[in-house]
Amino acid sequence: MTATRTLTYREAIREALREAMQRDERVFLMGEDVGRYGGAYACSKGLIEEFGEARIRDTPLSESGFTGAGIGAALGGMRPIVEIMTVNFSLLALDQIVNTAATLRHMSGGQFSVPLVIRMATGAGRQLAAQHSHSLECWFAHVPGLRVVAPATVADARGMLWTALQDPDPVIMFEHATLYNDEGEVAAEGQVSCDLDNAAIRRTGKDVSLITYSGSLKKTLDAAQQLSEEGVDCEVIDLRSLRPLDDATIMSSVSKTARAVIVDEGWRSGSLAGEISARIQEQAFYSLDAPVERVCSVEVPIPYPSHLEMAATPQAEGIMAAVRKTLRK
């Protein structure tokens, strides 16, 4: 069956939310302005009319409180989806996520799992300046006890939520804010589910492996396309899961191409790109024909003006330059 539909990323998230609410009555959505307002990014628009305010639950501006309540509700037998408006606000709930959600299973000697999904927007690109634009996925990906995913395509936005809800442990799902309006192909109803475990090869190539995720995927594919016109054949890997990382796919690709460029909107220091680079060095050192290159955000809080925001974050030109560097061109 190859029947597909075209949806926006936002519609895909909404459809996934609706499907989850319909399929499992334990599922409910909770967060700031998810109900009457329709969601800060309009992902849950119309759902409160459909499912009522008990299941599309508006919360006060209490990130730690409602995130912790999500953890408690998960312990109590529900399947909560907590929406945090942006990753910057999630820092107010970091105590609950790191000290409670991620630790409960271990602290209790395996007695209590926390089947909770936390969704949040991330990333720059909309001139929202330094308190609404950061990419802190790496901080969460650092923590054992959490699973961290980043749907970069509309199909993944549609398919990942249900799979995440089936996971017995907390899943943090990052939605890059520049993706919501993007259109993409989605499988027919009933065939949308997907795994959370594997990275996806979005473009095959033999010369250089480009490893990226979330909002940077588009830019990376764009760079790969332009490079192909120069005769450089790039492979593009969409990580999809940031914790755990799919080492096998990464190493298999790097072993083939002998070159890797990691594109990560997080700041370079202590970044996911750094982690992946280290793993390549640990697992594929003898396959490398060039130092691993990283294209990350410049180490500055994201500035407001568009030209500076662009300059601060990875762009196709920078990705192309990094690729050429690995080819010593």
Binding site: F285, Y286, D289
Partner: protein
């Protein structure tokens, strides 16, 4: 058992190429030894008599163990020990040091070289001074498998390597070409006379005196003989000439004969015969795989008149010789039928000018006119 590398602990004797009782000469190959890096020939560095062998084919012998006793004929010379024995074929240090300076080797390149038994220090780096996979593959294809008796040169890989090397050459080296048609009648006459006095087996092909004279003339034109790396030209004191040898089934290989100018005709004849034979069998020595300071490309008989060759980096010149053919030739105001060869020098304009090549050709012409004294 000579140490052929810092990481060699032992070697397995494959075969003796000399038998006890044989007279041996400096440069002879005494035995073949299999190492972690493939089969390597053990060379002798003094004249004498092969008295005894202490190891049999198949024996694994630690480095430093005595495998053969040579009698140098001098009473004082102890007939045992590493020094009296054999050392690596390659005069490694002399060749490696200028190449190894400032060199970077990628992990993948190092592994591939190790797996294929290649001496990474001999691989010519790319324009940024890095030896990567591409350089190792190019090197491997041109040199073939390293001294493995059963080795076969992968012609497909070789074509790729030629493509890579030639593309790099044409990309990086500003070539100029200078040609002369040269009267080689005197050479051919001299050769006929010389060969008449020789047994059939010892007869010389014209390439032997030609290469000898090319090499000796090059000694006077140092800007055409050497290597250019990392923006710097290093002229060579000797002419290590890469000899372009066509492979059956296609492809080209240019292993080096060291110090061509210093060799006698017979010495050079033996070297050439040996080299061609070993190219065919795929058993080249590591020292031959690189280190050439110039290349001679001789089209041979009944082929074509003129060759415009491409320099093999990091060399700075290549000399192309067309076929020898009878032509009308003006000499002393009269037209004669003479044996004419078109010789072309392709030079690297970063190092030399057309004037150098012209001077070289002029000197060459004079030498070829008097082969008996050249």
């Amino acid at each position: 058992m000579p140490s052929l590398g810092a990481d060699m602990d032992e070697g397995t004797l494959v075969e003796w190429l000399k038998q006890p009782g044989d007279r041996i000469h400096k440069g002879d190959i005494l035995a073949v030894v299999e190492t972690q890096k493939g089969a390597i020939e053990i060379e002798v560095f003094s004249d004498g008599v092969f008295r005894d062998c202490l190891a049999s084919p198949g024996d694994r012998v630690p480095v430093g163990e005595v495998i053969a006793i040579l009698d140098s004929g001098k009473a004082s010379a102890a007939p045992t020990g590493k020094a009296a024995l054999a050392v690596p074929v390659a005069d490694a240090k002399a060749l490696q040091e200028p190449l190894a300076r400032g060199r970077k080797v990628t992990p993948a390149a190092r592994r591939l070289a190790q797996e294929s038994g290649m001496d990474i220090s001999r691989v010519v780096p790319d324009g940024t001074g890095v030896v990567g996979l591409q350089q190792v593959r190019a090197h491997a294809a041109i040199t073939g498998p390293p001294a493995v008796p059963t080795g076969r040169i992968d012609l497909k890989e070789m074509r790729k390597a030629i493509a890579a090397a030639m593309a790099r050459s044409k990309r990086e080296i500003p070539h100029y070409y200078v040609s002369s048609d040269i009267d080689v009648t005197a050479l051919m006459d001299w050769l006929a006379e010389e060969n008449a006095a020789r047994s059939v087996a010892d007869r010389l092909l014209y390439a032997v005196p030609l290469f000898c004279i090319l090499a000796r003339t090059l000694l006077e034109t140092s800007e055409l003989n050497g290597q250019y790396e990392a923006g710097e030209f290093s002229p060579s004191q000797s002419v290590h000439a890469g000899i372009a040898i066509a492979m059956r089934g296609g492809g080209l290989i240019a292993p080096a004969i060291r110090d061509v100018a210093g060799k006698g005709l017979d010495e050079l004849r033996v070297s050439l015969t040996d080299l061609v034979g070993r190219v065919r069998s795929g058993r080249l020595r590591s020292s031959e795989l690189s280190g050439a300071t110039v290349t001679f490309s001789n089209l041979g008989e009944r082929t074509a008149d003129t060759l415009m060759p491409i320099i093999y980096p990091p060399q700075v010149a290549i000399i192309g010789c067309g076929q020898i053919a009878p032509r009308p030739w003006v000499k002393d105001g009269e037209v004669h039928i003479r044996q004419i060869m078109s010789i072309t020098v392709a030079g690297d304009h970063r190092v030399s000018d057309g004037r150098s090549a012209a001077r070289f050709l002029s000197r060459l012409e004079k030498r070829l006119a008097k082969p008996e004294v050249s």
